[in-house]
């Protein structure tokens, strides 16, 4: 874990308000970990922004992000050759199962960290299903990129503009009834709660990646806590962002 200055080698628009940012420089991270990125060289906005690691290796770090406010707007305006200050890798990632099948479920931008997870599962020779959900077809960015890494693939949209119409958790329900597996999920919280409940119904282990407003990102400020299933607070940045579903969602 360290702070480093990284040069932008590519900033590509891959969807409406969605960008893929490639930075030069190595990072040794596990899937599900994140980085904090400086979006301004002045004191305003002050805080770094947390982004999941979309992909990384010894020479580059890739982020996939959506413009949602001031900080991400500033980030999207950065050009190739500019330098960003990056702290990481941070947090606890997904535990890779020793064996067996994996069902990876994404809701919208929640797909970002799952790409790196799919890579790791593929390298480990796992049989993987990827279920990709979003509001509408246009938000299902980089579908080919994900599909190429897995054996089984299905998509769902809320408006039915691509794949199954309905929540991606319906696909999960069907998938687990056909083929059991460990579930890995990232997306909006209601979707994660739904996925956790379905996995529990099949006695499948389920790991979810959560978000919270952060300041330090390293576990020191206690600013990013969420209540655990036992009522005690957990730091999303340091105890997570990946949690076993039963640790954070009451049964």
């Amino acid at each position: 874990m360290r702070k480093q200055a990284m040069e932008i080698v590519q900033q590509e628009k891959v969807g409406k308000d969605i960008y893929r940012l490639t930075l030069a420089g190595g990072l040794a991270a596990v899937p599900g970990q994140f980085v904090q990125v400086g979006v301004s060289s002045t004191a305003d906005p002050l805080l770094k922004r947390p982004f999941s690691i979309h992909y990384c290796n010894g020479s580059r770090l890739v982020l996939l992000y959506q413009v949602t406010g001031r900080g991400t707007n500033l980030l999207a305006a950065k050009k190739e050759g500019e330098i960003l200050e990056v702290t990481g890798p941070l947090g606890r990632g997904f535990p890779l199962p020793e064996e067996g099948r994996a069902v990876v479920v994404a809701g919208g931008m929640g797909a970002a960290p799952l790409y790196y997870l799919l890579h790791a599962l593929k390298s480990a020779g796992r049989d993987v299903t990827f279920l990709y959900g979003a509001r509408t077809a246009a938000a299902l960015v980089l579908q080919e990129q994900y599909r190429s890494l897995v054996r089984h693939y299905a998509a769902a949209t809320d408006d039915g503009s691509f794949g199954r119409q309905g929540p991606v958790t319906e696909l999960l329900q069907e998938e687990l009834s056909r083929r059991p597996g460990v579930v890995f999920a990232c997306g909006p919280e209601p979707m994660l709660r739904g996925a956790a409940a379905i996995a529990a119904g099949f006695n499948s282990r389920c790991f979810v990646s959560l978000e919270a407003r952060m300041a330090c990102g390293v576990g020191a400020c206690l600013g990013c806590v969420i209540p655990g299933a036992d009522g005690r607070y957990r730091r999303v940045c340091a105890d997570g962002p990946v949690f076993a579903a039963e640790e954070v969602f009451p049964a």
């Binding site: 004191a43 002050l46 390293v218 400020c221 806590v225």
Partner: protein, 307 residues
């Protein structure tokens, strides 16, 4: 030529005038992964109450122009557990300052009594911004009489260095600073956060779960600097200055305004290496300007005043 960065705060000799601010550095372990903590002048740990506190309900952080509001609510593991974590810092060979909090005079006293036998706890920083339950939740830090009583009680309980951390949320800080001095404090630290709030206009509700929080970061620096100037004039005690320090230049401003040492809070969140960078930057400033020691610039801006 090397410059002498050491400063004296009560019975403590700090090898340099830079420490992290309470609540912004946990018990050090997180930042130990970024740099060797033995570089610090001292380490200041999280506010400690007698019993564990769960803290406030989230969201606890809201970003504001050049600053943040926090409403952590003193989440801490309680004095017994804190004692263990403080013990683990002994190996760094730097003073450990324990920030002490409570809702009654007795609670502050109990925390100190619990930590008295822990050798690694070198000093106490008394956070008087906490609500005093007996006074209907009014903070200890707003009444000179209450500060005097509290600090006298704690002074009688310890020979370790006693630092009183003053709240900026008062009309006149000088009687409060003098009350702490008269009651036997060894040093003062300031400022704690300024009370504030922020509202989400889309959801039409406060951004913080607790509604109000404490403002910190660059936005508060001019306010903090003014308080440091004022208090270091009003008392003979050394002052630890803080509030918005993010660079060596900021730290030098506080030293010139009369602070004998500085603490860095929010800036750690933005730059985990800010403390060592500020230490190096102060040394460079002294060298470039032909000073031999940091002591030479403490309060120096007061001699010149304007001009």
């Amino acid at each position: 030529m090397t410059v002498d960065l050491s400063v004296k705060i009560g019975k403590l000799i700090l090898k340099n005038p830079v420490m992290p601010a309470s609540g912004c550095f946990g018990y050090g372990e997180e930042y130990a992964r970024f740099f060797n903590l033995s570089r610090l002048g001292a380490i200041v740990v999280k506010g400690t109450t007698m019993r564990p506190r769960p803290g406030n309900k989230p969201p606890r952080i809201a970003e504001t122009p050049a600053g943040i509001l926090n409403a952590i609510g003193l989440q801490n593991p309680g004095a017994e557990e804190a004692r263990l974590r403080i013990g683990q810092l002994a190996g760094y060979g730097i003073p450990v300052i324990v920030n002490v909090a409570g809702n009654s005079k007795e609670e502050y006293l109990q925390v100190i009594q619990t930590l008295e036998k822990e050798e690694a706890a070198s000093a106490y920083e008394i956070n008087v911004s906490c609500p005093n339950i007996k006074a209907g939740g009014l903070s200890f830090g707003t009444d000179p009489g209450v500060i005097y009583e509290l600090v006298s009680l704690l002074r009688a309980a310890t020979k370790k260095t006693l630092i009183v951390k003053l709240s900026p949320n008062v009309t006149d800080i000088t009687p409060l600073a003098r009350a702490a001095e008269d009651a036997g404090a060894d040093a003062l630290s300031l400022i704690n956060t300024l009370v504030g709030t922020a509202i989400d206009i889309q959801k039409r509700r406060p951004l913080l779960g607790n509604v109000t929080g404490g403002l910190s970061g660059p936005a508060v620096k001019p306010v903090a600097l003014h308080f440091v100037w004022q208090v270091s004039d009003a008392v003979k005690l050394p002052v630890i200055g803080m509030g918005g320090i993010s660079s060596a230049e900021d730290a030098v401003e506080f030293l010139l305004a009369g602070a004998s040492a500085v603490a860095i809070g929010t800036a750690n969140f933005v730059n985990p290496l800010v403390c060592p960078e500020v230490i190096d930057g102060i040394a460079a400033y002294l060298q470039e300007n032909n000073f031999n020691s940091v002591g030479e610039i403490i309060g120096l801006a007061k001699k010149g005043k304007a001009g």
